[in-house]
């Protein structure tokens, strides 16, 4: 396997949906205390589903690429969909992660779950 999947190369090199939505319906931030990676996600809702998402991320290339993929991926999902995603689902969606990059799947899963929580209990459910 290559060090980076085609999807990660594409999203790292041409990140999509970078930035922060002003006055988002929900947001989530996660820090990986070991590797220092960070992901911040803001979303806007419509009809109970995410209709727009933006991300800001710091860290290794796999973390950055994964965050960009995730910001595209979540559009159309509701809180239950987000909460159901696990590391394996993330890994598959990003086209696979090399050993040593698995923390990126965890980071992404955590931000997705935190977003689901925020949607259900925080601003998102207001």
């Amino acid at each position: 396997m290559a060090r980076f999947s085609d999807e990660i190369v594409e999203h790292f090199t041409h990140p999509k949906n970078v930035g922060e939505l002003p006055e988002p319906d929900a947001d989530a931030s996660v820090v990986d205390p070991v590797c220092g990676g960070q992901v911040h996600l803001t979303v806007r809702m419509g009809d109970g589903r995410i209709c727009e998402a933006r991300f800001v991320a710091y860290g290794c290339a796999a973390a950055l690429g994964t965050a960009s993929i995730v910001a595209e991926w979540v559009v159309g999902m509701g809180p239950e969909d987000l909460a159901s995603l696990d590391e394996a689902a993330v890994t598959q969606r990003v086209g696979g992660l090399a050993p040593g990059q698995s923390h990126c799947a965890r980071l992404a899963m955590e931000v997705l779950h935190a977003l689901a929580d925020d949607l259900r209990t925080g601003k998102g459910s207001e």
Binding site: T13, P15, V31, C35, G36, Y58, G59, A61
Partner: protein
């Protein structure tokens, strides 16, 4: 140059300057060609390879080191991501990580460069090493951990006495005492962690006898996250007495992962810039202006090794450059670090390791774990 570092470090100034300039200029031309983000910055500054050829290395547009903390990191790369082999960061927890991405060629060049410097300055080819620093096993992307870990290939026996973020001074002392007489013993780690071991020895009233061939090698900030500074001279006196080694063998190193450069102290405590890097010191208020040797300013480092990105870096460190001969016999650039630039966060690896260790220690005290068992880290703070 890497493979003949001993002779390269003893070249007449003019020859060495020319060799370094040739190396750095070739890389400048390469990045100008391959890196559209950097090329735009050069064009904005009105600089191209011919300008640099005529005006010298000082004309090379510098990248502020803060750029390596930014989200749009892909812009810095002169090679496609597929060629990136190693990503290393300069900070642990807290703060945004600064990430340097090295392609295979640069990874090889840096590994060989460090190896050549370790051999030139320390002549290590065996013995035991006590590592008072994070291991790359636990922190595979931490620059400081990688730089120290390279010593393991030269040593016969290596031991990390930092587990997670908990320091085991007792274990450290035991390791050093156990190896006594059978082999030469060295200590590696950031200043504050070695200082912790020294304070532990002071508190227990003990003095080790590492002996004449032993080295203490430090890398990382001398300013603590609390704001207090460890005084280098007093550190050396304490280390010499408590560990039983010569002050000449207590050696600090200065480097930042973004620049590929490690400047290593000789026995006279001068930090030598390797001939494949060029250091320039800039006016604090106008970094486009070089200040004369001996004058304090912002340190800029240009690397002649890095094909991954333009490693022509304006650091956030204030220091002084000198050039010429050293009592140790080497010639070239020497730098001394004074302080972090005001406004720059105190945020090198070592500082963050220290902050984390204190957090974990406090936490460990709170939950009153049994002595001896390293505390587990608090769970990942999601949100």
């Amino acid at each position: 140059m890497i493979c003949a570092l001993d002779s390269a470090s003893r070249l007449p100034d003019a020859d060495r300057r020319e060799a370094t300039a040739r190396l750095v200029m070739r890389l400048f031309a390469y990045h100008y060609e391959c890196n559209s983000f950097y090329r735009r910055r050069c064009e904005d500054a009105g600089v191209d390879p011919r300008t640099v050829m005529s005006r010298g290395l000082a004309a090379i547009p510098l990248l502020p080191v803060g750029l390596f903390k930014q989200s749009n990191a892909h812009l810095l790369l002169s090679r496609p991501l597929e060629e990136v082999e190693l990503e290393i960061r300069s900070t642990g927890t807290g703060g945004v990580p600064s990430v340097a991405r090295r392609d295979t060629k640069t990874t090889t060049a840096v590994a060989l460069a460090l190896m050549a410097q370790y051999r030139e300055f320390f002549s290590i080819s065996g013995g035991a090493g006590l590592f008072l620093c994070p291991s790359p096993a636990e922190n595979p992307e931490m620059g400081l951990a990688k730089v120290f870990n390279l010593f393991c290939g030269l040593l016969d026996r290596s031991h990390y006495a930092l587990h997670g973020y908990s320091v085991r001074e007792d274990e450290a002392v035991e390791f050093l005492v156990h190896e006594q007489g059978s082999t030469v013993r060295h200590v590696f780690g950031p200043p504050f962690l070695v200082n912790r071991l020294l304070d532990y020895l002071v508190k227990s009233g003990s003095e080790l006898k590492l002996g004449e061939g032993s080295l203490v090698v430090t890398l990382g900030g001398w300013k603590r996250y609390t704001g207090a500074t460890i005084d280098e001279r007093r550190f050396r006196e304490k280390a010499a007495r408590r560990l039983g080694i010569e002050q000449a063998n207590i050696r600090d190193m200065y480097g930042l992962i973004e620049s590929d450069m490690l400047a290593i102290e000789c026995e006279h405590h001068h930090k030598h810039v390797p001939p494949w890097c060029h250091v320039s010191v800039r006016d604090i208020f106008d970094p486009s202006r070089e200040v004369p040797d001996g004058t304090r300013g912002v340190i800029a480092v240009s690397s002649g090794l890095n094909t991954s990105y333009p490693a022509f870096i304006l650091t956030e460190d204030v220091g002084v450059r000198r050039e010429g001969g050293c009592e140790c016999g080497r010639r070239g650039q020497m730098i001394s670090f004074s302080r972090r630039l005001k406004g720059a966060e105190v945020g090198c690896c070592a500082v963050n390791i220290e902050r984390e260790i204190d957090t974990v220690s406090a936490w460990a005290r709170d939950v009153a774990i049994e002595p001896g068992s390293p505390p587990r880290r608090p769970a990942s703070p999601a949100r």
